[in-house]
Symmetry: C2
Subunit: 409 residues, 2 copies
C-alpha cells in the first residue's frame, strides 16, 4: 500500500510555516509499513491542486492531505477533492453541532462563513475535530482513498492519532504498539553502533533511534493483529535493550530527566536547593517546570558575582581569590553552602565559563565545575569540558547535573 502526503497552503510555499504535519504523518506511516515515495506541497489553488491529485493517484493508492479546511474562500482542499471524485458537498449534522459548540460565548457570533466547515463530500467518513472547527474526512472511491485533515498541528496530529490511524490499521490489518526508552549519558551514534546488528535484524518490532537535546531515545514499535499480540512482540526487545543499556536508560515514553528526578526525590522524601553561577537559573528553572516540584524544591541562589557567592553561600573569600570562582573548591563550597543554608537534603552547584568572553589560558570557554552535596555523604565535584555556544554549554551543564544527581540518590 502506497501513500502520498499533501500539504496544501500558500503559506507553506511562501516559507511562512514549517511543515511539521507532513513529518509527523510520514513517521507514523513508516511505522505502519505504509510506503511514502513522495510528499507534495501545493498552494490554495484549485487547478494546481487538481493537477497534483491526478499525478499522485498515478503512483499512490492513498493521498493524505493537510490544510485548506478553513472558513475563507481561499480554503478549497475539500472542494477540490470533491470535484475530483465528483461528489457533492452536503451539510454534516454532527460537524455543524461541533462547530456551533465553538461559538457558545454569547459575545461571539459565529460568522456565516464558518458554516462551510460543516459541509463535507457526500458519503465520506467524517472525522470530528476535538480541537477546532474543521472536520476532517475520508473519501473512498474505486480503489482510491483521500484522507483530508485540517492544517493546524494541534488539530491535525490528534485527529490523525485518534481517528485516522485506526482506519489505516484496518486497511493494513495491523495494530501498532510503541514504547520509547529514554537514555542519557550516551550519544545517538554510540548507542546505535552498539546494537547495529540488532536494529538491522529487527523487523517486528522495529527499533528506531532518535537524537534529542543532550539525550537520545529508542522507539520500539511492534505490529500485530491485536493490541495484545503487538504488546507481546514488543516485550523481548524492550527487555534486551534494558539489559544492554541498563546504565543509560532513565525513563520511558513521556519521562524527562527532571520529571524522573523529582519523582525519585519525592519517593525518598528528599529536598533540593540550587546554587548557580554559569547556568544562571537554568538548573532551577528546569526542575521547577515539573508540576509536582513544590514539595521538593526549597531554595535557589544565582550567585553570578563573587560578592554574592560570599554572602549568599558562605564561600571562603580567600579560596575565591586563590582558586578563582571557576574551581573545584568554590563549586564544593557553593553546594555545601546552599544545602546548609536552605536546610535541604541536597545542594547542587554550577560554576564555569559559558563564553563567549571571560576565558583565560588556564580556564577556557566550556570549563565547568558541578558539585553535589548530600546530607551525610561526601560532596562530589565533577570537572567538565563542554563544547558549543553559551546556551548550549549552559544546557549541557544542567543535563549533566541531573544525570549525575540521579545516579547519586
Amino acid at each position: 500500500m502506497k501513500a502520498e502526503i499533501f500539504s496544501v497552503g500558500t503559506e507553506i510555499l511562501l516559507g511562512e510555516i514549517l511543515d511539521s504535519n507532513a513529518k509527523y504523518i510520514a513517521g507514523e506511516l513508516a511505522n505502519m509499513g505504509i510506503d511514502v515515495f513522495y510528499k507534495t506541497s501545493v498552494g490554495d489553488n484549485e487547478e494546481r491542486l487538481l493537477d497534483a491529485i491526478n499525478i499522485a493517484y498515478k503512483r499512490a493508492d492513498i493521498i493524505i492531505s493537510t490544510g485548506g479546511l478553513g472558513p475563507t474562500d481561499d480554503d478549497l482542499t475539500k472542494e477540490t477533492f470533491a470535484k475530483y471524485f465528483n461528489k457533492k458537498l452536503v451539510t454534516h449534522k454532527e460537524s455543524l453541532e461541533n462547530l456551533r459548540a465553538y461559538f457558545v460565548d454569547p459575545d461571539t457570533e459565529m460568522p456565516l462563513s464558518n458554516l462551510k466547515q460543516a459541509e463535507l463530500p457526500e458519503g465520506c467518513t467524517v472525522f470530528l475535530n476535538d480541537n477546532g472547527t474543521a472536520s476532517g474526512c475520508m473519501i473512498e472511491d474505486n480503489g482510491k482513498i483521500a484522507i483530508i485533515l485540517p492544517g493546524p498541528p494541534k488539530e491535525c496530529v490528534p485527529m490523525f492519532d485518534k481517528k485516522v490511524k485506526p482506519v489505516l490499521e484496518k486497511f493494513t490489518n495491523k495494530v501498532l504498539v510503541s514504547k520509547s526508552l529514554n537514555l542519557c549519558g550516551i550519544g545517538e551514534s554510540d548507542a546505535s553502533e552498539q546494537i547495529k546488528e540488532l536494529m538491522l535484524q529487527s523487523k517486528n518490532p522495529t527499533i528506531a533511534p532518535y537524537a534529542g537535546n543532550n539525550e537520545m531515545r529508542f522507539r520500539i514499535t511492534a505490529s500485530g493483529k491485536t493490541k495484545e499480540e503487538a504488546t507481546n512482540l514488543l516485550k523481548p526487545t524492550v527487555d534486551k535493550l534494558y539489559t544492554i543499556f541498563k546504565d543509560y536508560i532513565y525513563g520511558e515514553d513521556q519521562d524527562t530527566l527532571e520529571s524522573v528526578l523529582v519523582d525519585k526525590l519525592l519517593k525518598n522524601n528528599m529536598t533540593i536547593s540550587t546554587a548557580e553561577s554559569c547556568t544562571g537559573g537554568l538548573l532551577a528553572s528546569t526542575i521547577i517546570n515539573v508540576p509536582s516540584v513544590s514539595k521538593v524544591f526549597l531554595n535557589g541562589v544565582i550567585s553570578y558575582s563573587n560578592e554574592s557567592k560570599i554572602y549568599e553561600l558562605n564561600v571562603n573569600k580567600d579560596d575565591l581569590e586563590k582558586y578563582g570562582a571557576v574551581s573545584e573548591q568554590v563549586a564544593i563550597q557553593m553546594a555545601d553552602g546552599i544545602r546548609k543554608k536552605s536546610k535541604s537534603t541536597i545542594g547542587i552547584s554550577t560554576t564555569g565559563i559559558a563564553g563567549p568572553t571571560g576565558e583565560t589560558p588556564e580556564k577556557p570557554v566550556g570549563l565547568v565545575y558541578i558539585a553535589i552535596s548530600i546530607e551525610g555523604k561526601e560532596t562530589i565535584c565533577k570537572k567538565l569540558m563542554l563544547k558549543g555556544d553559551r546556551q548550549k554549554i549552559r544546557e549541557k551543564t544542567v543535563h549533566i547535573c541531573f544525570s549525575n544527581l540521579l545516579k547519586s540518590i
Copy 2:
C-alpha cells in the same frame, strides 16, 4: 520566473527530519519575487527522482534541490540531475582541495568514498561549501536551471545566502535588502490589522508580519537594481512603522528583548537582581544568556518556599500569612528585598500560580504578580492573568517583566 523546491532524502519520507531548508528557501524566493507553486519531497531513488524532475520542468524553470550530496552510494541527487541533463561527472579541483582540508587531522584519513563529493557535472557553476564537504552546483541547459545544494541546514542555508542568492538576483535583476522591526506588547493580528491597508498597498518594499514567542516582528523587504536603491526604498516604510508602532518597537533584526535590556542597563550604569517564585529561575536565566551580562547582573534568588521568602528576601511573615505568597504585598517586598540585599539599582520579582495544581477559587492558575523596585523610585507592581500551560505562563511572565522594565528605565 517559476521555481520548484525539491527535498531529496529517504529520511524526509520516513518522517525522521523536519524539512527546514525548504521553508527557508521558499521564504527567500518569495522575497525575490520568484514564484513557487510546488514543493516536492522524494527519496534517494534514481527512477523516482528522474520522474519528479520530468514533472517539475513541465511547470517550472528552476528546480532548487537540497539533500543527497553525501559520500555514500545512496546519495544520488547530483548523479541523477547529471543523467537528466546528459552531463558527465568530472572531478572539480577546488572542491577536492576544500574536501581534503576537512581531513587535515593526521589521525583521520579521508575515506575514498568522499572523493565522490568533489565530482560535479561538467560545465556547471560550482558553489564551494564553507561549512562541509559537499560542493553545491548549478546546471543551466536549454532554458532549464537546476540548483543542487547539500542537505544539512548549516551547510545549505549559508550556501544559499552567500552563493545562490547573488546568482538568482542576476536572473531577476534585483538586489534585496531587509530589515526586521521587533515589537512587544502587541499581538501579530492586532498589529497587522492596524496596517492592513499599508501592507496591501506596499509592493516594494513588502511588509510581512511574523509571530514569535510572545512577540512579533515586521520584516520589510525592498528590491532594487543596487543595494543603495533598495536601502533607500526601505527607509520611508521603516520610518512610517516607527511612527505607528513607536510604543511597541523595542529593537531591530537580531535584537532580543533581553539583549536590548542588558544594553540599556550597561549604558545607564545600572545593576539588577532577581527574586523569583513562579518563574523559578527562568527570569535570571534568560537575562544571563546575554553574553555581556556580568557587569549588570548581581544576584538572584529562587524563593520557591515561603520560608526562603522570609530568610532570603526579608518578606514579612505576617503579610505572607495574611495575603498569601501570591499577592501584591509579597511581590513588592520580594523586589525591594532582593534589591537592598544585593545592593543593586534594580530588584525585580515574580510570584504566581503557574499550575496545573495549586489554584484556589480566589487565586486561579495564571494569576501572577510582578514587581519592579528601582532605587529612589516607588516600587511598582502589576497583576497579570495569563493563559496557557505551566511553561507558557512562566515564559509570558518573564517576557512581561522585561517589557515593563524596559519602559521603566
